[in-house]
Symmetry: C2
Subunit: 247 residues, 2 copies
């Protein structure tokens, strides 16, 4: 039976793919956004009204809402009044992080590829940040650096400060997409990186080396030297992964 | 009422965020993947079995499946037999493209940022492709180039061949994540780019110039000159957007 179907397919027949109803709802919402009739901050119609307007079930509308929520495109308030209802929003960060993390986990993305993509994006973040960073950005980098350099910092807190440092560089780049992608790639590696830090027999020495590398990047950024900051970020990322058997 | 709530919040109170049931289902599935008990190609339990095992409703399981499908993490077959059921898969491309395209549309990502991110990733793709491309990759580039250089090519077909050329470079890079991200950014711009080509009063001249730029990139790749390929790709992308008022 299965083989028969395979043979028929070989002669140019392929299964009809029917879009599911919730996908058609997503398409309609995308059309509204693309045409400018629906903008960030706008409230979406209530579930029952949208179902009636599109001629579909409330279940299909709710499924589409789940997908939009997972994409960081809507926030759903609870209760009544000003903060209730479904608002179109724009927060791609968590969705990107989850998407990339899940694909790293199912191994459609290998860690070598992830590291190389991270280096590409973080080089660009650092290069841009060297000229675009504000005093506030410098302050955030300095805060993260203080936590990294404190010998009392635990592996978990160290990893959080490390993430905060890299995210601050990405934000300071002034390019929101580069920043979101950089942050997503860093966050997607959070758990394996933390495991390496927690399992490190000489965590104090590792922390001291990593702190020194972060400080050198920070100083290149303060000096406005984008090329040097990019090279130091690359050496820092590649070195860590190599020393910890992740590359 | 709303103001009262605001004041209370100001004193350190914030709303309790309750995870929805489908989010807990997603967390359980991610745990199975992270632990290696669920791998790409594996079949997920049937909806009713998963609902029973997790102690949740079938509706919650189905909502989680919609999200996984939108993330390119499962494929759902129809009918019975070998090809039925829900398989864990790994195809992040479409999900990434949709995510980035939607966020460009709601303007959480500006087109200047998108172009700059595209240039960063495509420089890296080109640099890697110059040494990693196979004979098959070269053939795909040559195919796309033939379509670009054919004066009979329509704007739609030109845009498709243009996409195919950039996607072929991304694939030839050998880095699947850089390739997926590069492709997603190119595809997210498909409609505005096509509108510019279709509205171009002198499409023939534009097509000739773009074809020549693509050919120069192709020749640098064939010659294995990664730095030159990267510089040419950057000039090509930046030039197009500038000439068409998209930068």
């Amino acid at each position: 039976m299965a083989d028969d179907r395979g043979e028929v397919r070989g002669r140019g027949w392929a299964p009809v793919t029917r879009a599911r109803t919730y996908e058609l709802v997503l398409d309609r919402i995308e059309e509204q956004i693309a045409s400018g009739r629906l903008r960030a901050g706008d409230r979406l119609p209530a579930e029952r009204d949208l179902a009636a307007a599109l001629g579909v079930s409330r279940v299909a509308v709710r499924e589409a809402m789940r997908v939009l929520q997972a994409m960081g495109l809507i926030t759903q308030g609870t209760g009544s009044g000003r903060e209730s209802g479904t608002l179109l929003t724009a927060a791609p960060g968590e969705a990107l992080t989850r998407l990339i993390r899940m694909h790293v986990l199912v191994a459609s993305v290998g860690s070598h590829d992830l590291i190389s993509a991270r280096i590409t994006l973080e080089r660009e973040s650092a290069r841009l940040a060297a000229s675009a960073a504000s005093a506030e950005d410098h302050e955030q980098l300095a805060d993260a650096l203080r936590a990294l350099e404190d010998p009392a910092t635990s592996p978990v807190a160290f990893n959080d400060a490390d993430t905060a440092f890299h995210v601050a560089i990405a934000r300071a780049s002034g390019n929101s997409l580069v920043a979101e992608l950089t942050t997503a790639l860093r966050n997607a590696m959070r758990v394996p990186l933390l495991e390496r830090l927690e399992g490190d027999a000489d965590f104090a020495a590792t922390a001291a080396q990593l702190s020194a590398e972060h400080r050198a990047v920070y100083e290149a950024l303060l000096a406005g030297d984008g090329d040097r900051a990019a090279d130091l970020v690359q050496a820092h990322i590649a070195g860590f992964y190599q020393r910890h058997g992740l590359a």
